[in-house]
Structure formats: structure tokens, C-alpha cells
């Protein structure tokens, strides 16, 4: 991502992204809009499902028989449909470009939004939140709605990027290309969902502190700064922050604001949930990282080139390795562990999207995905050295 988004994120862009019947769409473009449309329907169903949970909770409180939530299976079905249609979209793009569609930035981002759907589907069954309790079911619903909305947002952003096809340069024509990309993007998606859980938790904690107190002013300010000032907060944390504030404010008005004792178990469970999401993602992150090394070894007999993207991915991996060690050996639980996990998600974001702005990224091998960047023929080491060496030979 060498340049900021060129288009606008206005209403037009949104309508464009959910309108599959417009003129002149490629088939992958049309299917992408179907994905968005299904996600929109799924998000609406999910929101409805979330609202109906309250009556279920009320029924439990009042000792009445709990009715099944009628929107539960339709919203799960919407998620499933989005995954199926997303696969069709990826397949169509494959047919349009005749290779695994992850070469340009727009292809990679669409792949990541698709992975987000796949990992949500997997986590939906792996986490089994609704079996824990109705409060946790709400949390699962919220996650589903956030992911579906996030997919629409990401796809909206994709439409500001060029969708031009590019031929695969020789180095990318390797059997490692699909697994390397797919493992990394899947792990990014899953770890992003883990990060999302931590964001929900920290927003909840902040607003509970505001409405109920119990936290020091310093920690509240620090939290506020982290939530609002991180790069790209407007698409990552601020919407959740505002939404949670509004919901808790409403609860406070109606006198249903949970008590302070509520936070301790919430912390424990959310931390456990985020850990499970992490556990699904970390093996893929590891495999993706090292598959890149296997590939580089085959291409240049160099398993690690200290390329800036490799370094950034390694730092991300190390943050997660630190997390697992702090959690298992250092006894980190609850908000301390979740803070590290959130740092990991931030690192994923930097590696994946902010990377193009980093000082050392200009000469990176992994800038293939930019528009207008044609990799030079010298693909390893300093090109100037090679040129000079060649000049010497010619002399």
C-alpha cells in the first residue's frame, strides 16, 4: 500500500459495493458484491439475534422457559452463504487471471476479507460461545456482526484499489505461492478476530470504569489513548468504542447496568475466548512464515533475506510467542494477556497494511502487490552491486 486510498468512503462507495447488477462488472467483481450483500443481510440478522438474546436473558432471570432464538440459524446460514459465495468469487478471480489470486493489493485484500469469513465460521463452531451462556452468546453474536460489517468495510476499501490483472513474475510461479499466502492471510484473519475480542473487552472495561468507576484515572486515560490514537483507529477501534458506549449508556439509563462483580468473570472468559482464537491462528502464522522461508530457499538458496516484510512478520510472530510464554509461564491472564494479544493484532496490521509506509519497505521483495511497481530483474541482494559487478566483467 504505497498510497492512501484514492477513492472516497462515502455513500456512493457503499452502494457500489452492494450492487451486483451494475454495468461492466467482471464476474469476480459481481460475486464480490454478492458477498457484501449477504454480509449486510447477515449483519442485520445478527443484530436482530443479539437483541432477541436480551429477552432470553430476561427469561432466565425471571425463571421463565427460554424460547429458542429464531434468528440463530438464519444468521449462521448467512455466514455460511457468504463463505460459499466468497469461494465462488475467489474461483472467478482465479479464472480471470489464471493464477492464485493474491498478487495485487486488491486481490490480497479480498483474500483477507474472505479469510475473515472462513475463520469466523471455524471459530463460530470452535468457540461454541452460546453453549457457555446467553451473555456469551451475545458476545459471539457481536463478533459475528463485527466481522460481517468488517468484511463489507474491507471490500469497500478494495474498490478504491486498481483491480487490473498482473502476470506472475517467474519468482512467484511456485507451488509455495498459494499455501504461503493462504496460511498467512488465514492466520491474520483469525488473529484479527482474537484482537477484536480484546478490543471489545477493553472498550467494555473503559465504559464500565466511566459508568461504575473502580479503575484508576491513569489507567483509564492510557486505555482511552490506546483505543483512540492507534493508527487507523477509525476503522478498527473507534466504531466499537462508540457502539459499546452507547449500549452501556442505554443500559445505565434503564438501570440494567451490570455490577462491578460482573467484570471479573467477564475478563476471565473473554481472555479464554481470545486465547482460543489465537490457538487456531498461531500454527498457521508459524507455517506461513516458514513456508516463505522454504520458498525463498528454493528460489534464491536463501531461507531468510532480512527483507523488511520478513522482519515485520517475524516481529509479529515474536509478539505472539511472547504472549504464549507470558501466558503459560509468566502467569499472565486477563487484561495483561489481552493487552499483549492486542499488541500482536496491531503488529499484524502493520505488517499487512502499514508496511508500505515503513522506511525500509521501498526495496522489499514483497512489494509486488503495489500498482505500478515492476520488480527489477535482480531479485536478491543490492542491485547496484550486481550492476557494478557486471560492468567489471564487461570491462
Amino acid at each position: 500500500m504505497g498510497d492512501p486510498p484514492q477513492g472516497s468512503f462515502g455513500m456512493n462507495a457503499f452502494i457500489d459495493s452492494i450492487h451486483p447488477f451494475q454495468n461492466g462488472l467482471s464476474s469476480s467483481g459481481m460475486w464480490l458484491r454478492w458477498v457484501d450483500l449477504i454480509c449486510l443481510v447477515g449483519a442485520l440478522l445478527g443484530t436482530g439475534m443479539m437483541l432477541l438474546r436480551w429477552s432470553q436473558i430476561a427469561a432466565v432471570r425471571e425463571g421463565r422457559a427460554v424460547k429458542a432464538n429464531p434468528l440463530e440459524w438464519p444468521s449462521t446460514l448467512a455466514l455460511l452463504a457468504a463463505v460459499v459465495v466468497g469461494s465462488v468469487q475467489v474461483w472467478m478471480r482465479y479464472r480471470e487471471v489464471n493464477h492464485f489470486p493474491s498478487q495485487t493489493m486488491s486481490e490480497v485484500i479480498v483474500m483477507s476479507s474472505f479469510s475473515l469469513l472462513v475463520s469466523m465460521l471455524i471459530l463460530h463452531f470452535a468457540l461454541q460461545l452460546k453453549s457457555i451462556g446467553y451473555g456469551w452468546a451475545i458476545m459471539g453474536d457481536a463478533l459475528l456482526v463485527l466481522v460481517l460489517l468488517g468484511v463489507i468495510g474491507i471490500n469497500c476499501y478494495t474498490l478504491t484499489l486498481s483491480s487490473a490483472e498482473r502476470d506472475l513474475p517467474p519468482a512467484l510461479q511456485s507451488y509455495w505461492f498459494p499455501p504461503h499466502l493462504a496460511a498467512l492471510i488465514f492466520s491474520y484473519a483469525t488473529l484479527t478476530i482474537a484482537g477484536l475480542v480484546t478490543v471489545i473487552y477493553f472498550c467494555l472495561r473503559f465504559w464500565m470504569g466511566v459508568f461504575r468507576g473502580g479503575y484508576s484515572k491513569g489507567s483509564q486515560l492510557l486505555l482511552l489513548a490506546c483505543l483512540l490514537l492507534i493508527p487507523f483507529a477509525q476503522v478498527a477501534t473507534i466504531p466499537i468504542f462508540v457502539l459499546m458506549g452507547a449500549v452501556l449508556f442505554l443500559l445505565k439509563l434503564r438501570g440494567h447496568l451490570p455490577g462491578r462483580e460482573f467484570m471479573a468473570p467477564v475478563e476471565g472468559t473473554m481472555e479464554e475466548v481470545s486465547y482460543r482464537a489465537f490457538s487456531v491462528g498461531i500454527p498457521f502464522l508459524t507455517a506461513g512464515l516458514f513456508m516463505g522461508a522454504f520458498w525463498a530457499q528454493e528460489a534464491w538458496a536463501n531461507y531468510w533475506g532480512w527483507d523488511s516484510k520478513e522482519n515485520s512478520a517475524l516481529i509479529t510472530w515474536l509478539v505472539y510467542i511472547a504472549y504464549i510464554h507470558l501466558r503459560m509461564l509468566g502467569g499472565y491472564r486477563g487484561e495483561k494477556a489481552m493487552a499483549v494479544l492486542a499488541a500482536g493484532a496491531m503488529s499484524v496490521f502493520i505488517t499487512f497494511q502499514v508496511f508500505g509506509f515503513l522506511p525500509d519497505s521501498q526495496k522489499s521483495l514483497h512489494r509486488y502487490t503495489d500498482d505500478g511497481v515492476v520488480p527489477t530483474e535482480g531479485m536478491q541482494g543490492k542491485t547496484s552491486d550486481e550492476t557494478q559487478a557486471r560492468l567489471e566483467v564487461q570491462r
Binding site: 498510497d3 492512501p4 486510498p5 484514492q6 477513492g7 461492466g24 462488472l25 457457555i132 451462556g133 446467553y134 451473555g135 456469551w136 478504491t160 484499489l161 486498481s162 483491480s163 487490473a164 490483472e165 498482473r166 502476470d167 513474475p169 517467474p170 519468482a171 487507523f232 477509525q234 476471565g268 472468559t269 479464554e272 475466548v273 482460543r276 490457538s279 487456531v280 498461531i282 500454527p283 508459524t286 516458514f290 522461508a293 528454493e298 528460489a299 534464491w300 538458496a301 536463501n302 531468510w304 532480512w306 509506509f357 522506511p359 521501498q362 500498482d371 505500478g372 515492476v374 520488480p375 530483474e377 535482480g378 531479485m379 536478491q380 541482494g381 552491486d385 550486481e386 557494478q388 567489471e392
Partner: protein, 770 residues
């Protein structure tokens, strides 16, 4: 580091650029230039989060309007992409200026930061000693924590050994069945077996109650990490990397290569390498032009593969929906195309543009060749295709269609014949546009501005080394000379009255383009010569005249006429026999291509990759698809310009397809074939038997391994097609590191994926409440 001296150099650099610095400092300042740009770029973006305050450069309205029409022809998606790309270019240029200004304003701070980064080795942290130390410490602490409380237990270790043997047997069986075909499989397999045996035995000594999946995962991961660090250290202390520059024209083995990051030090291989072959294949692409549109944007190129469908030329139907009016389907793609002579036949379309053409077969002593003769207009042959001349110089033949054949015989008396035409232009004389004048030998022509030309001599058979730029030394008179390279000697007289300049002009050579013009005395006088093969002196003239398909007459020099028709031999003098093959009124051309694909042999070797060949494609072009006017046509194209085999024009000339090998982007593939040589002890080389060419072939992502060295395809130069840059790596750490990485992946999967799948997540999270 002498900081004072550096400060001085820095000021020189700041004011005059690094080229003014002593050579020893140039490298560092070049690095600084890269550093300040990278940091400036980063800080600039940090200060303009979300693009706030960045320059906006909207597309000029003219560009925008052009793109709208472009989108109608090439599709909305292409239009949007162009718009995005052009906006990025317009905005990007402004932004880069701002970054440049930012760097300029903060030059001193950036220079300080560069010095700090240099002192701390931040620029290449991974090469620094402190980073290596850190990794060493990591290894030690991983070892200590993984083997905390370890002690040797005979029974446990014996049991572990038995298990380990089973694993090794299993791996060997896999290999026996050919299920594992890793590169250098024996090494890798041995190392992998050693790794698991070691892990198993060592793991048995760690006090834990029982063997669990989690414990196995933990042990495999941590031992994997230790192995990885050992491999990394091996690499760090033993690796040699560089580039070997080979050229397939030079068969002598090379053993000197250039080390990366250390250009001045050459390194030597313990053996020699030479390049047998080098090949590059580009992507096949189709460029679709709409010549009536005159777009300023370059038309897109579509990469071709069998089964691809390209839909273009959007039109709106009654409902307002757009549909493509042109569909191109790729039916077949070939890596070899032979381009034969163009086939001609009478068009089946009665509305086709009239195009008269005579196809003639000339047989001289059993050698047959085909000629296509275009009818002349007037008595001047502008094109060589308008006159067929007897190789034995007994006759020349022109064609006439739709005109009186008599009118084509020149009326000039002998000695006053027109030799050809000259187009002249003189800078500052007249309107500067070229003016055509007839050339008659001996005549002088005033050009204006005081210049004049005198035509001295001509030849149709310029002989290099015998004729010179002053005169022709041809032994035969002009009319008896064979047809070769036509030339004309002229005197250019300038307004200054000086001695005239003698110039020789060649047909088909443009003096300006070939750089001859600058060498002329009157270099402002530009002359272009075209020989007239009909009106110039030569053998007797005959005219083949026809007004309907297949039936015509031969008009003799004396005006008498002999009827002729398709298949008849013309009554011409001399020993060559000319047969009328076809007399056409509305000629239609058809390219004459034959295609085939070269298949690699069973080892994957494809010699054809290295042979220069035209490539072919078969398309189905459909106009107005899905409407009653739908019309499909099979189109064969080759990447050869011979006979325009690479072009296809639609009958209405609204669409032009151009088939190209897209050499502007990265190629489809590069390959090299190497030969390795040992020194024979007597100062010479002897070949190392390394097997077939496929076994000695390297491709991108497929290297050659020999005596610890790995050779991979890394560089090429489109300007020097025989050059191949071969990456050289000596790194014994590679298999060790790979074992470590495989182990970490495996261990991680066991701990995080297999365990929960087998045992579930354990107890549900506590505190389930609402």
C-alpha cells in the same frame, strides 16, 4: 570514526552531492541518501495520517473525458483502474515533491539520525554483533528452560529409543515408496530422523508425569528452535553468496564470482561453470486497438491462455444495460508458429472493396517462386510489387486493371527516361515539406534558395567495394544491369558557388535515420531517392491486362495483344516461364500459418524453450454476440511481423488485434543450462558428468546443487540476450535450518491443533454468566 572529517564531508555532500566526495566516502553518502529518503517518506506519512493534508491532484477534465470513452471500448473496470492509476500518478508526483521539500528542510536532523543509526548498527541490525549475541542468549535460555531438571533414566531412554527406531523405519519406508521426494532427500531424511530420535531420547529425561501431546509439541518446537539457531549460526559463519556472470557465447569455464555486499572482492569456486544455454520466454499477449477512436491512453494488453474470454466494446441495449459487442475467445496457444506465404483468393463477399491482383508463378530452371503483382496507375511504378522483372533481364512485366494498358507504356525517348523520383527538402527553403521531382540522368534541377541538383549516374546493382561515393564502376549499361541495390549519384550545388558536393543516394536508405545526413557538406539538403523499375531504361516492357476474374491479355511492346487466362503460360521471351496463377478483382488475403507445440520429454526437458521461435494463437472473434447479427470468425495469429501475421483487421476495419510477446514486463520464465568443470591438473578443464541437460538446467525456483554450492537463476539483461546472471550460494546451514522450521511447524500444529481436536479444549471457561 572521525566525526569532524565526516562533518566536513557532509557539508560538501549537502552542497554539491556525493559525487564531489572522495571515493572512500561515496558509499556511505549513497547509503545516507537512501536512508534520508526512506525516513523522510515514513515521517511524512506519519505526519499525514489518513492522508490528511496530503496534496490532492484531480484528473484534468480532458483526461477524465477521454477515459469515459475508453471505458466504453475496454470496459468500465478497465476505465476505473486507469482512473485510479492516473490519479495515483498525479497525486503521487505532488506528494513526492512535498517529501523532497520535507527532507530538504530537515536535512541536519536526518543526518544526525543517520549517524546514530550507524553507530548502533541499526541499518543492518541482523549483521551486527549485538543481534547475534541476543540470538545466542535466546538459544541458551531456550535450552536451559527446555531441559530444566533433566536427568538420565535408563528405562525411559531405552523405551524412547525403541520408539525412535520405529519412526526411522517408518520414514525409510516412506522414502522407499517414493512418497518423499524432497530435494537432497537422503540428507534431509537423515537429519529429520536424527532430530526426532534426539528429541525423543532427550525428552525422556525431562521430569514430567507422562508423555502428552502438549509435552510432545513443546519439545518438538523448542528443539526445532534450537536446531534452527544452530543452523542459523552455521549459515552466518560459513555462507558465501555472490553472482556469477555467464554468457552462452563464451564456452570457457568461469570460477570467479562477485560477492554480494563486497563487490571489490572476487571469490573463487573450487570448480568451473559455463553456460550452455540461456532462454527467456515472455507472456503472450493480445493488444486490441480501435483505430477510429484515437485514444491517447495506451490500449491494454491481455495475457492469453487457452480458455480465456475477453469481452470488449460496450454498447447499450434498449434496456440501458451495457453488453459487450466484441468477444474474443482463446482457443489454442502454440509455442511454435511457421509463417508461410500469404494465401490470396477471390473474396466471397461481393461488397468487399475491389482489390485487383495477379498471382504469377515464375519457373526458372526448375526454381519456382510466386509473385503478387499490383496494377499500376499511370506510367510510374511506385512500388516494387508493381513490376516483375525477368531474372535473365529479357523482359519486365506490369499489370493493368481498370485502365487502358497502352497508357502505361512510357513515351520518353531513349536517354531521357525517368530513372525514378527524388523527394527533396531544404531547411529554410520553401515550406520545408518534401517535394517530389522526376530524375532524368544528365538533367539539372533548380531547387530554390540558390540550390540545384544534377543527376549524374544510376545503377540498379550497387556493388560494395567496387562502386564508391563518387561514381559507379558497373561494367554493364544501366538497362542491362541485374536487379540489386539501386543507387543514384547526384551533384548538389549550393548558393555559395563552391565546388558541387557529389552524393550517392541509395534506395530504401533514409540518410537522416541512418546518420549519414550529418556527414554531408550541404547537410541542410535532405534527399530521398526512389528508383522507378518501369520507366527507367531496361528490358522490353509487357503489360498484363484484365478486367474480369481469371481472363486477361498480354500486351506486347509493339501493342499487339495475346489473350490469357488462369493457368496459362505467358508468351514472354527468355528462358524463364511465367504462369498466370490467378487474376483477381477482389483479392482477399489469408495468412498461411502452421502451428505446433513442443512437448517436454519424460524428464521435463524441453529443448525448444531455448530455440527462438515465433509463437501462435488461435482465437474465435465474435462481433455482436447475443444479437441476430452475431458473426464468429476463427483467427490465427503468429508473433511474426512477416506478412503481418501478428495482425488481424476486422472487415470493417474498426478493430485491430495485435498478437505480441509482452517483453515490457517480467518474463514468463528464464532458464539456463550449466556445465560444471574440474581442473585437470594441467591447466585445463575437464567436464564433470552431471547427467542430462535437464539435470543441469536451472529455473527460477529450481536450483542446481553441486558440492555444497547452489546455483540459481537470478539475473538477465534484455539488451544482452545471451547473458545470464547465476546466483551462487555456499551455505551448509540450509538443511539444518529447514529441519528446525519443519519441526516448529509440526510441534506447533501438535500443540495447538491436534491436542484440542483430540482432547477438546479442556474445562469450559469459568465465569459463564450474563
Amino acid at each position: 570514526m572521525n566525526l569532524v572529517a565526516e562533518e566536513v564531508d557532509y557539508h560538501i555532500f549537502k552542497d554539491q552531492g556525493y559525487q564531489k566526495l572522495p571515493a572512500s566516502m561515496q558509499d556511505e553518502f549513497q547509503q545516507y541518501e537512501a536512508f534520508r529518503w526512506a525516513e523522510g517518506y515514513f515521517i511524512y506519512h506519519l505526519m499525514h495520517l489518513y492522508g490528511i493534508g496530503m496534496p490532492k491532484a484531480p484528473l484534468p477534465p480532458r483526461v477524465s473525458a477521454g477515459l469515459e470513452r475508453f471505458g466504453e471500448k475496454y470496459g468500465r473496470e478497465e476505465e476505473k483502474n486507469r482512473r485510479k492509476q492516473m490519479t495515483a500518478v498525479f497525486t503521487g508526483r505532488e506528494k513526492l515533491n512535498e517529501i523532497g521539500a520535507f527532507i530538504h528542510d530537515h536535512e541536519d536532523e536526518l543526518w544526525r539520525a543517520f549517524q546514530v543509526a550507524t553507530v548502533l548498527d541499526l541499518n543492518r541490525t541482523y549483521k551486527s554483533s549485538w543481534f547475534a549475541t541476543l540470538l545466542g542468549l535466546l538459544g541458551v535460555s531456550v535450552f536451559l528452560s527446555a531441559y530444566r531438571g533433566w536427568r538420565f533414566e535408563t528405562r525411559r531412554s531405552a523405551r524412547a529409543l525403541v520408539w525412535a527406531v520405529w519412526v526411522v523405519v517408518f520414514l525409510l519406508c516412506l522414502r522407499g515408496f517414493g512418497a518423499l521426494s524432497l530435494p537432497w532427500a537422503p540428507d534431509m531424511l537423515g537429519l529429520m530422523a536424527a532430530f526426532f530420535v534426539g528429541t525423543w531420547i532427550l525428552g525422556s529425561g525431562v521430569p514430567k508425569k507422562r508423555v502428552s501431546l502438549q509435552k510432545a509439541g513443546f519439545f518438538i518446537v523448542h528443539n526445532g528452535l534450537l536446531v534452527l539457531l544452530i543452523g542459523g549460526a552455521t549459515s552466518k559463519f560459513t555462507t558465501e553468496r555472490g553472482i556469477l556472470n555467464l554468457d552462452s557465447r563464451d564456452p570457457t569455464p568461469k570460477d570467479v564470482y562477485y560477492r554480494f555486499f563486497d563487490v571489490h572482492k572476487k571469490a573463487r569456486l573450487p570448480f568451473g561453470v559455463s553456460l550452455d544455454r540461456f532462454g527467456r520466454k515472455d507472456w503472450l499477449a493480445l493488444q486490441v486497438d480501435f483505430p477510429n477512436e484515437e485514444f491517447t491512453s495506451r490500449p491494454p494488453r491481455y495475457t492469453l491462455w487457452p480458455g480465456r474470454t475477453i469481452e470488449l466494446d460496450q454498447v447499450r441495449d434498449e434496456s440501458g444495460a451495457e453488453r459487450a459487442d466484441l468477444r474474443i475467445e482463446v482457443l489454442e496457444v502454440y509455442d511454435h508458429a511457421e509463417v508461410g506465404l500469404v494465401k490470396v483468393h477471390e473474396s466471397s463477399d461481393p461488397d468487399a472493396e475491389p482489390l485487383a491482383l495477379a498471382e504469377l508463378l515464375l519457373d526458372r530452371g526448375g526454381q519456382r517462386s510466386r509473385f503478387l503483382l499490383l496494377p499500376m496507375e499511370g506510367d510510374r511504378a511506385r512500388l516494387q510489387a508493381e513490376v516483375l522483372r525477368d531474372p535473365g533481364n529479357a523482359w519486365r512485366l506490369a499489370a493493368a486493371n481498370g485502365s487502358d494498358p497502352e497508357s502505361h507504356f512510357p513515351k520518353a525517348r531513349p536517354g531521357r527516361e525517368r530513372i525514378g523520383t527524388i523527394e527533396w527538402s531544404i531547411v529554410g527553403v520553401g515550406d520545408g515539406q518534401p517535394t517530389a521531382i522526376p530524375v532524368v540522368l544528365g538533367e539539372t534541377v533548380e531547387l530554390g534558395g540558390g540550390y540545384s541538383l544534377t543527376f549524374r549516374q544510376a545503377t540498379t546493382d550497387f556493388r560494395t567495394g567496387k562502386d564508391d561515393d563518387k561514381e559507379s564502376h558497373h561494367p554493364l549499361p544501366l538497362e542491362k544491369q541485374p536487379l540489386g541495390f539501386a543507387a543514384l549519384w547526384v551533384d548538389v550545388q549550393g548558393p555559395d558557388g563552391a565546388e558541387p558536393e557529389r552524393r550517392v543516394l541509395f534506395e530504401t536508405i533514409d540518410d537522416v535515420q541512418f546518420g549519414r545526413q550529418r556527414g554531408f557538406f550541404y547537410s541542410d539538403v535532405v534527399l530521398r531517392f526512389a528508383y522507378d523499375y518501369w520507366s527507367a531504361p531496361g528490358p522490353p516492357r509487357y503489360v498484363l491486362h484484365w478486367e474480369e476474374h481469371g481472363k486477361g491479355e498480354l500486351v506486347m511492346p509493339d501493342g499487339s495483344r495475346v489473350p490469357t487466362s488462369d493457368g496459362q503460360v505467358l508468351p514472354l521471351p527468355g528462358d524463364a516461364e511465367v504462369t498466370v496463377s490467378q487474376l483477381l478483382e477482389r483479392a482477399d488475403f489469408e495468412s498461411n500459418l502452421s502451428f505446433h507445440n513442443s512437448e517436454p520429454d519424460e524428464n521435463g526437458w524441453n529443448r525448444a524453450f531455448y530455440e527462438p521461435a515465433h509463437r501462435g494463437v488461435v482465437l474465435r472473434v465474435t462481433r455482436h454476440p447475443g444479437t441476430p447479427e452475431e458473426e464468429s470468425q476463427r483467427v490465427e495469429l503468429a508473433t511474426s511481423q512477416a506478412g503481418n501475421a501478428n495482425l488481424w483487421f476486422s472487415p470493417d476495419r474498426e478493430v485491430v488485434l495485435q498478437f505480441v510477446e509482452n517483453s515490457e514486463m517480467m518474463p514468463f520464465e528464464w532458464r539456463s543450462v550449466l556445465t560444471l568443470w574440474d581442473r585437470d591438473g594441467a591447466g585445463g578443464w575437464k567436464k564433470v558428468a552431471l547427467g542430462s541437460e535437464r539435470e543441469r538446467e536451472i529455473r527460477v525456483n529450481d536450483y542446481l546443487y553441486f558440492r555444497g554450492y547452489r546455483f540459481f537463476q537470478t539475473n538477465a539483461d534484455p539488451q544482452v540476450p545471451t547473458y545470464s546472471g547465476i546466483g551462487v550460494v555456499y551455505d551448509p546451514g540450509i538443511p539444518i535450518v529447514l529441519i528446525g522450521m519443519y519441526a516448529i511447524i509440526l510441534g506447533g500444529a501438535i500443540a495447538f491443533l491436534v491436542r484440542p481436536a483430540v482432547k477438546g479444549w479442556g474445562t469450559p471457561p469459568k465465569g459463564a454468566s450474563a
